[in-house]
């Protein structure tokens, strides 16, 4: 058994064929020349066949355009499977690494409270003090087994008003007193030495001390979902239930609100996802399900804060962020309380007088454009780990099953990136992200009921699956889905609903052996 068999499996008609031979490219060169001419004369407009471009590059460089199935992240793929698997630069890094190292250092940096001398700007309210606290080892966050989120790492709560969206941006509107995110930490009180049950800093002696906005707790004592297998056996899924306590200083409990728990996603490959051409994503979209396959796929048009217009969203659990530039600076502000060139005002709603008073402790923006850019560069160039166990017959069978039950309708197994100016590392790479970056209705059981731009309360973006099999190794858990409710891959599959009903029932109809093979394939990613 060799890897080649696995290489050639699973490329449905909708996908370009992986690893084509050199001879095939040679035969198509006359056509490619036409494409090249078209490309040059039309200034590279969208719609130019990306396969053709890859072929031209291949013919000029003498390298095969797709280095093979193991190379999940194209030529940048890093062959390393240990706790550092998500935390290495792409292998094909063309720069000297200084900017990558700098970005990495800021990613790992523990920020301290506003008003300090060095690395200051944390808060006044925040969720955690550094990027890596939630993205440990550049990997995935998880909810606590139960109870308070206060000391848990890697999950936060998005908030918004019910039934309203911003007339300009089309996005959700934050709560008057708490904003768009529950910051369950504040830069502290002087006395007493702990907050009281109302999060009140009674006796606080200075303006530089801000209590948290509140706290959330989770339990798994709510409704259950029972999934049966045709071949026998059932799995019971526990639905998380969240409860909240609110700071009376900031107005106490809101009368109504939407919320969405979000775990921290892994970092590897984000630059490659950003490099997927819009035309490719739009080509997958089928919002009206015109092919009647039960799977639609919708683009989320979201607000680009830099250019003040609506653009295609691709990051976040609801594809609600258009770019890493905006995603990263949004996280600096929303999660850590650090102001940046893009979001230069501290995150203090007008009712939070203590927060507003403390916010002047460090001049805004607290990070410079070059720091923001180095973190941006870093998040673009973290390598995707290679696939493993490719020649295992079960893994090969598992990949066939993945396609045959139509998981690949959304989890796209092979994608070609476009041109990224200045970053050849990310350009024209065949990647295996297993996502279409589109929104899909995932049914009522997974719903958060919180619309986010064009995504309704039941819609979620297909998450990439690359690296899935190494999360346990890196992060010591395998809590999956947007809120980490699924314990492992099997539960994650069984949580799928809505448009994914067909694929999920396909899984339920498989024999135990085939289900195990499919999971073994997913673990090889």
């Amino acid at each position: 058994m060799n890897c080649d068999k696995n290489l050639n499996i699973g490329s449905g008609t909708a996908n370009p064929e992986p690893n084509p031979s050199r001879r095939r490219w040679t035969r198509t060169i006359p056509i490619l020349v036409c494409i090249l001419l078209n490309f040059l004369y039309c200034g590279g407009k969208e719609g130019t066949d990306p396969l053709g471009i890859a072929a031209i590059i291949a013919s000029q460089t003498g390298i095969a355009p797709d280095p093979g199935e193991a190379f999940s992240g194209g030529y940048g793929t890093r062959f390393i499977s240990n706790p550092t698997s998500f935390d290495t630069p792409v292998v094909n890094m063309s720069s000297d690494g200084i900017q990558f190292n700098t970005g990495n250092n800021f990613f790992n940096r523990a920020w301290v409270a506003e008003g300090n001398s060095a690395s200051a700007g944390l808060g006044p309210t925040f969720n955690t003090s550094s990027c890596q606290n939630c993205h440990a080892g550049d990997g995935r966050g998880a909810p606590p087994d139960s109870g308070t989120l206060f000391n848990s790492v890697g999950i936060l709560i998005r908030l918004s008003k019910v039934g309203v969206s911003d007339p300009t941006t089309g996005g959700p509107v934050g709560l008057d007193s708490f904003g768009l995110q529950l910051n369950h930490k504040g830069i502290g009180c002087v006395t007493p030495l702990a907050y009281d049950s109302n999060f009140d800093c009674t006796g606080s002696t200075g303006p530089n001390f801000t209590p948290p906005e509140g706290n959330a707790s989770v339990s798994y004592t709510g409704a259950t979902v029972v999934r049966n297998y045709t071949s026998g056996g059932t799995v019971t899924l526990n639905t998380p239930v969240y409860s909240f306590s609110w700071n009376v200083n900031f107005g106490g409990a809101p009368s109504s609100f939407n919320f969405s728990p979000r775990t921290a996603p892994m970092i590897p490959g984000l630059g490659l996802l950003e490099a997927i051409p819009e035309s490719t994503i739009l080509g997958w979209a089928d919002p009206t399900d015109s092919d009647s396959d039960g799977v639609s796929g919708k683009v989320n048009m979201v607000w680009d804060a830099k250019n003040h217009k609506k653009v295609l969203g691709r990051f976040g659990w609801k594809a609600n962020e258009p770019s890493l530039f905006q995603q990263n600076q949004g996280a600096f502000l929303g999660d850590i309380g650090i102001t940046s060139p893009l979001f230069s005002t501290d995150n203090c709603p007008s009712t939070q007088t203590q927060c507003l008073a403390a916010a002047s402790g460090t001049a805004d923006p607290e990070i410079t454009a070059s720091i923001a850019e180095s973190v941006n560069f870093y998040t673009k160039l973290v390598a995707v780990p290679a696939r493993r166990n490719l020649s295992d017959p079960d893994v090969i069978d598992g990949k066939v099953l993945f396609s045959s039950i139509k998981c690949d309708a959304c989890h796209k197994p092979l994608v070609l990136t476009g041109n990224v100016p200045g970053l050849p590392e990310l350009s024209y790479q065949y990647i295996k992200p297993y996502t279409d970056l589109l929104l899909h209705d995932m049914g009522p059981e997974l719903a958060d009921g919180r619309p986010d731009f064009d995504a309704d309360g039941q819609e979620w973006r297909t998450p990439p699956l690359w690296g899935l099999g190494l999360i346990q190794e890196v992060n010591g858990h395998l809590k999956l889905m947007h809120d980490g409710r699924a314990n492992g891959i099997e539960e994650a599959i069984l949580w799928h609903g809505g448009e994914a009903d067909t694929a999920r029932t396909g899984f339920q109809n498989l024999s135990l052996t085939d289900r195990q093979k499919l999971i073994k394939f997913l673990e090889s990613l």
Partner: protein, 430 residues
Amino acid sequence: MRNIHTKIFSILFSMTLFSSLISCAGPGSDNSAAAALLGLDIPASATKPQFLNRYAALAFESYTQAELDASNLSAAVDTFDSNTNPSASDLTNLRNLWVKARASYLITEGFRFSNGPIDNDTVLQCDGTECEGLLNAWPLDEDAVDNYIANGGNSVTSFASILAKIGDTSLGGEADPQADKIVMTGYHPIEYLLWGKDTSNTTAGVRPASDFADATTNGARRRHYLKTITNRLAVHLGLIKDQWDPAQTGNFRETFLDSANVNTSVGNIFQGLGSFMAGEWGGERLTGVIGETQEEEHSCFSDTTKADFYYDAQGVLNIWTGNYSIQKGVNISSGPGLSALLSFKQQGAIQSEIESSRNLFCINLSDTESADPNFTSSCASGSLTHRFDQAISSADSQHGILVNVQRLIGSTLNRDFVAAAAAIGFSVAP
């Protein structure tokens, strides 16, 4: 032993000669080509066990000096604590002793990341936790230290009570089980207490001695806190030193030198130094060069950040050459360094790169660095003579020196080091 020394001398001599040859050849010259031209390739001059013995001795000597200097500071702080109204010169005396203690500690930083006692808590724990974080964590939350002193009552004299406060959100930082916690101990809190906040880029912090007077609010508590954490700093350094002490049994040194562990020990040293270059010395410490904000200065209270780079380089150079040196050009002891495991052709330009990255920092600030072992008023042309918190800005005429040194350490030196390790079969991951 005599033979080894002679051999090292000849290699060092020829390396010096070689360095001058390649520097004359100008940019683009290829070391191996030059060596081939000269017909030179002196074989490795030490075995791995010989090198490891020297490394262990160097570690012991380095931590012994660091502990000694910290103890001298600690003893002076004890006297300071007993004075209800310390004078400006009492405070200056402490600052000078801190500068010396800091220099000898920084020289030990090359031993980090190598699975040794400094930062591997399965080898050694200081008060129940990994040692390095208690000694040298950064950035400091000054409010947390101030709040603890203001609220700590009599408990400020107990190290255990200070330790228990690490992670207490009420002090100003956050409690996070997996992350760096509030920095309450080590060189930087001591530095903060001695100098105070630095809000200027023309001076260091200007805390008055009266901040420590009994008549001042929290003055006595501030002295007690300073005493408690300085005493403990010396104790922790002693614990690390003991792990390298040849007179003790059952310590890390024994495992490290065990004949069964030779390749593991050498591999850990290569990996550790590689991580130190790319991640810490040429990475973390120099991030301000790209960030360009004064807040990125590490020793920001004392404005002694240039010394951080200088002695980090000296520490790496010591491990590379096998010489223990603090003052430039003065070797206190010698033996086979890491370079002795490599043949002449495999050395690359590593030694000259380390020396260049050291010499780019001139220790010339008379207000804060006059007690430094390498303080000088005559700086080599092209070296960084400005204050670090000024040069960190691209508007400063010497900013380019910092950019170049970051590239030299984090990129050129690191690349050459990885190649040298690979030449004798050790892989250094990024």
